[in-house]
Symmetry: C2
């Protein structure tokens, strides 16, 4: 890690120079003294724009191994007869291989951070460390699915490994209200509050979840979270499809984050999250891809475009405009903020995470509005290079070791099916 | 044009050989005699899958020149103060340059055919001829917008140029009910019927259009089309967002085609076309990108994924599954069929239009289901080569002359703004 001078890069509608020093943006668009740029790697960025990288605020990374498996099967049959039995066979090695494929796919599509709710977290942590990006890795808590010993291990693991890594944080992630007993869920909240952990859970993804919650607790999921004291700027709820107006206000008022995953919600028939409504009420809205089983990719750019289109339709219906800058923020800064990162903006002092995007791409031409082109027209094809934490993780469309990662994942997915 | 032997290409879940002879698929997956493959160009397709190319059933190609222009402006302000004034400045040369950018973008994203409703058709025809793909070019009729002389010229042009080209057909395209007088619209129908032309028009895109039609004609747009005798297998309606159940049945019963353009409909706030409902009623549903002003690209793969996701949500609500094959058909064969092409399938006797898609792409791995990967996971990044009418129009991600096309479009878009 050292200095990188991005020369003649397109930013805020003009060419400028940007200096990265260590892990942060040192300065944007000014003259540098010889001492400041001494030892810097100079990168000629002529014909390229710089954009914030993506922060994927909700996924299950290693599910890449199940991409497209048994698609076109009705939801409960798909889960019961295909996804869950296959998941039950996954070993720690599988998770490592699946996570590596996931991280490779994310880097190629411009994502430098993901919040991961899955199993064998130590392996995913290892992969993230190796591949140079960031993650908030969950201790995924579900006392209905795991043994009492595993349940306790979550909290031991948290204590032991917190703060070990610069790029990987640990997050308390009870799967959901319905996959935990009250005791388990409340204890998770208590631990997160006492130790100041980010707290992430599935929230109001399906109509059934809301109905069940109302029957059991006589309130909606968001109201339950409020009652149990879970809501705060450290709270990150995934999906948030079925919320009433008052719940949106509660999320906004408590500084909580709603992560919307529109591709997954549409594909699984869960519904359409009210992206424009959440945003207009002042909720911190972030974007996630969900797992590759239900998307079927981890492409945040695609998620951003789909969120933008759905948001536009919703905004029209309340006579508003869903602005480009707000859309970009959802895909970048909002996710970073949710997980406590000072990142997601090309500004002095922010973490040096960014994309270099080719302007000489048919979908980026003409350049009436390069941000509009990026959000609505381009795809990840235009991403030339990716920088995370002040270091290149992809250069000129290539990630070190990618051929091997793809080969291993292909082989392993076949083997799992044959078990 | 000669023979192309696609060797070891992945098709129907196995490697096989496919022979193209002239403009059609000669044979799929069998042994060939030396005489059959004599003189063939042999292409090693190991590691690549073959898929049908895309047929873009509704667009306004040269609007690429306005991509992203004045985005985030309220709809009527956007049209009145930005898009229409800029459109009014477009010359025939501009249309040629914009169409060339459009065709380049379409080839890169796997599209070999588009139905074009725009002006200076002779220039778009020229571009399509040069660049090797197909198009159904409209004589765009709007007597409310054009002079009586121009209105008459449409019909003269049709007579004069029909049948001139192997890959370009002419289509009768009155813009819409609201941009034509009754007389003009009815005459367009009469000409199309008398001369057996395909007939294409905007249909029920916005709620306002439906309300206005009901006020003026005391029936819905589809009912009006039926009353005026426009509906038949030669009828192609674009958008079809606001239809009641009976209108869907009328379209199905008459063999008409509904082209859905979900990206544009969401972005402009028009609504969500009932893709699964139209399909389940037996309507020939095709996909279109609409123009780049309201999408903002011409990427049929993206349109296919968004249509698939919306269709899944709609299908769930009527307890159905929206199958992969049906989704692929909408993006390929249904559009070809609407415009009278025996194309859109990898089958003997079909026009030799196809894509070679890289299987060694992170989003195509693992390969539990390669069609599912193609529809839901991949993007156009994975398209290695494109064949149209038995000839390569893109090889290894490169289209002849693309650098010049991009340069010209960039320059021209700037000049137009300065006029």
């Amino acid at each position: 890690m050292g200095k990188i001078l991005l020369q003649s890069v397109f930013h805020n509608n003009k060419e400028c120079n940007i200096l990265i020093n260590g892990t942060t943006f040192y300065a944007i668009d000014r003259q540098f003294s010889p001492a400041e740029i001494d030892g810097a790697e100079v990168v000629d960025c002529k014909g390229m724009a710089i954009f914030p990288a993506f922060y994927n605020a909700h996924t299950h990374a290693a599910m890449t191994l199940m991409r497209g498996y048994a698609d076109d099967t009705p939801l409960f049959e798909w889960l019961n007869n295909y996804v869950w039995p296959l998941e039950a066979k996954l070993t720690a090695d599988d998770i490592e291989i699946g996570s590596r494929l996931a991280v490779l796919e994310m880097i190629h599509s411009g994502t430098v951070f993901f919040a991961d709710m899955y199993w064998h977290r130590e392996r995913t942590m290892k992969v993230v460390e190796e591949m140079g990006i960031r993650a908030a890795i969950g201790v995924t808590i579900s006392d209905k699915l795991t043994s009492p010993q595993d349940f306790e291990n979550n909290f031991t693991f948290l204590k032991k490994h917190t703060g070990e890594s610069e790029r990987v944080s640990l997050v308390v992630m009870p799967h959901s209200i319905y996959m935990n007993t009250d005791e388990s869920f409340k204890r998770s909240i208590a631990v997160a509050k006492a130790e100041n952990y980010i707290f992430h859970t599935h929230l109001s993804e399906t109509e059934k979840e809301v109905v069940d919650c109302q029957q059991q607790f006589h309130c909606t999921p968001v109201e339950l979270m409020e009652k149990w004291g879970a809501l705060s700027p450290n709270f990150v709820g995934a999906h948030c499809v079925h919320l009433n107006e008052s719940e949106k206000e509660i999320l906004a008022g408590t500084g909580s984050t709603a992560v919307v995953n529109p591709c997954s919600n549409l594909k699984l028939g869960s519904g359409i999250p009210d992206i424009a409504g959440l945003h207009s009420k002042g909720v911190n809205v972030a974007l996630g891809t969900d797992g590759a089983s239900s998307n079927n990719n981890l492409d945040m750019h695609e998620e951003m475009k789909i969120a933008a289109l759905l948001g536009q339709l919703q905004a029209h219906s309340i006579n508003k405009i869903f602005h480009k800058n707000d859309i970009l923020t959802m895909a970048t800064e909002a996710g970073a903020k949710a997980y406590g990162l000072h990142a997601g903006k090309i500004e002095e002092g922010y973490l040096a995470d960014c994309l270099l995007v080719e302007l000489d791409n048919a979908q980026m031409i003409p350049c009436h509005d390069y941000l509009s082109n990026w959000i609505y027209s381009a795809n990840t094809n235009a991403i030339h290079s990716v920088i995370c934490n002040g270091s290149f993780v992809m250069r000129n469309h290539h990630v070190d070791g990618e051929e091997e990662i793809l080969r291993d994942a292909k082989k392993r997915a076949k083997e799992i099916l044959e078990r």
